[in-house]
Amino acid sequence: MLLGTLIYGFVNSTILALVAMGFNLTFGISGVANFAYGATYIFSGFLVWILLNSLGVPYFFSVVIAVICAALLGFLIYYVVILRVKGLALSEVMATFGLGLAIMELFRYFDFVGFRYTLPVFFDGSISIGDVYIDYQRLAIALIAMALTLFIYLFTHHTRIGLAFRAIAQDERTALTFGINSDRIGALSMAFGSALAAVAAIVILPLGTIAVEGGYDVLINALAVCIVGGLGSTMGILVASVMIGFAQTFTANYLEPHWMMLVSLIAIAVVLVVKPSGLFSHQKELEERI
């Protein structure tokens, strides 16, 4: 039982990290908290489903199209909505949250509800570690989360756009003096973050069904991880994912599975009361933000 809880706790941590990654990236670079993030996640899931099942597009292309569409959606939301209220944090949150609500509830309105909305796993089957069985999909999630972390690090340190991301995150006005266009980079960071939401959806959703409520859970989990870790700090995200991930799994296994989301909500509430800047924000002063 304990070994199983530890393994599933670890997998759950990587799921949380994967879910928080895109939200954190956009915030770290442009300072925008994208509350349409959960909606983007669900949108990508349904889009893959529609491409696969209604249009008969092969899996690989469905996935690629969904990631590109999510990125475009993020880019558009930034240019059409966020830029008009940029700098007014409350308006940014209201606008993105409102849009997210509209997207998610539209799916509900058009009857995207039920058990038939599932995405295929990458590989069927499972392996055993000791006497604990774990399916290949969960292993794939852990591997992909780690690979993406590495990819983001390499991208932000070794590409032109990535370096511009880091510049805008650190000092927007100075970045402008080198010809870096802050609006374009902000929109690209939103596109990148939304694409990550799509990747998370494609990897994680095969574990269950695609449901509108899942969008709210994803947003809450991403917020919980980012708030506990200190918004914008990569190290904080990883540590917070592990903390919340294990707390959730222990709660589900030893107390009550329904209380899993409660862990995230309590974590948000406690951290906001005790240390609103996040548990790891003190390390952020001279540390990577993205």
């Binding site: 700098g87 650190q170 100075t174 080198f178 010809g179």
Partner: protein, 248 residues
């Protein structure tokens, strides 16, 4: 090369620059001297186009109104409304006041970021040039910029502006808060920029003493207004300038 005609800049209702005109000729080193809040930074931000961006962002935020009158001509082209990245492309590069660097990036990465608009091979070439100009920086290549001293940061900031390949380099108070030795080093560097790389320089300073000897032409700015102009020597001989700006 650069002509500024009757420039006026308002922040809300406060006048930061009042009917200011100036000219920078190709190959010159020109200085703008003024005490605190004279309007030096406002002028530099206006010339680099930052103010165009500030203005747009203020409008989005529904805050302070920035108003601009007058004309800026660069190589006879009106650039008054041109944004900052377009001006960098044209060769106007600003090094902002108080050593603006990216504190969480190391020296090499700072220089790479500055080469955003340049070709990769050109960036490496320019970084090599910066390391020749400031050998001390080459030693600190992988040091986090936030951990460097003020003087080191200022060398880096100027180096970064150079990687963006200016034809007109704007330096806002490059000597601020530096030791006399460091000031001399930077002044020599500016002279060599003009002599060896053919870069035209417009710099602003509070204190006249270190810069008057190297400038071809100077403008004295007080409360946003032009009060005196002249060549470096003329200004150095001027008793008013001596009284007001030579107390280091």
């Amino acid at each position: 090369m650069l002509k500024v005609n009757n420039l006026m800049v308002f922040f809300e209702n406060a006048l930061a620059l009042n009917d200011f005109s100036m000219e920078v000729k190709e190959g010159q080193i020109v200085g703008v001297i003024g005490s605190n809040s004279a309007g030096k930074t406002t002028l530099m931000n206006t010339l680099s186009g930052l103010i165009v961006d500030m203005r747009i962002k203020e409008i989005r935020r529904g805050g302070e109104r920035i108003t601009l009158y007058g004309k800026i001509l660069f190589r006879d082209e009106d650039i008054t409304a041109t944004g900052p990245s377009e001006r960098v492309r044209k060769g106007i590069v600003l090094c902002r006041e108080r050593h603006p660097i990216f504190p969480e990036s190391d020296v090499f990465e700072n220089l790479k970021i500055a080469g955003y608009l340049q070709k990769r091979s050109m960036v490496l070439e320019m970084i090599q040039y910066v390391f020749e100009l400031f050998p001390a920086l080459a030693q600190l290549k992988s040091r986090k910029a936030g951990f460097m001293s003020g003087g080191e940061q200022q060398m880096l900031a100027i180096g970064m502006a150079l990687v963006a390949r200016p034809t007109l380099l704007l330096l806002d108070e490059p000597l601020l808060g530096l030791s006399p030795m460091m000031q001399n080093l930077l002044v020599d560097a500016v002279k060599s920029l003009r002599a060896k790389a053919g870069i035209t320089v417009l710099l602003s300073e509070q204190f006249a003493r270190p810069v008057l000897p190297i400038i071809d032409f100077g403008y004295i700015l007080e409360n946003g207004m032009l009060t005196l102009t002249g060549t470096g020597e003329e200004l150095m001989e001027n008793p008013e300038v001596k009284a007001a700006y030579f107390g280091v």
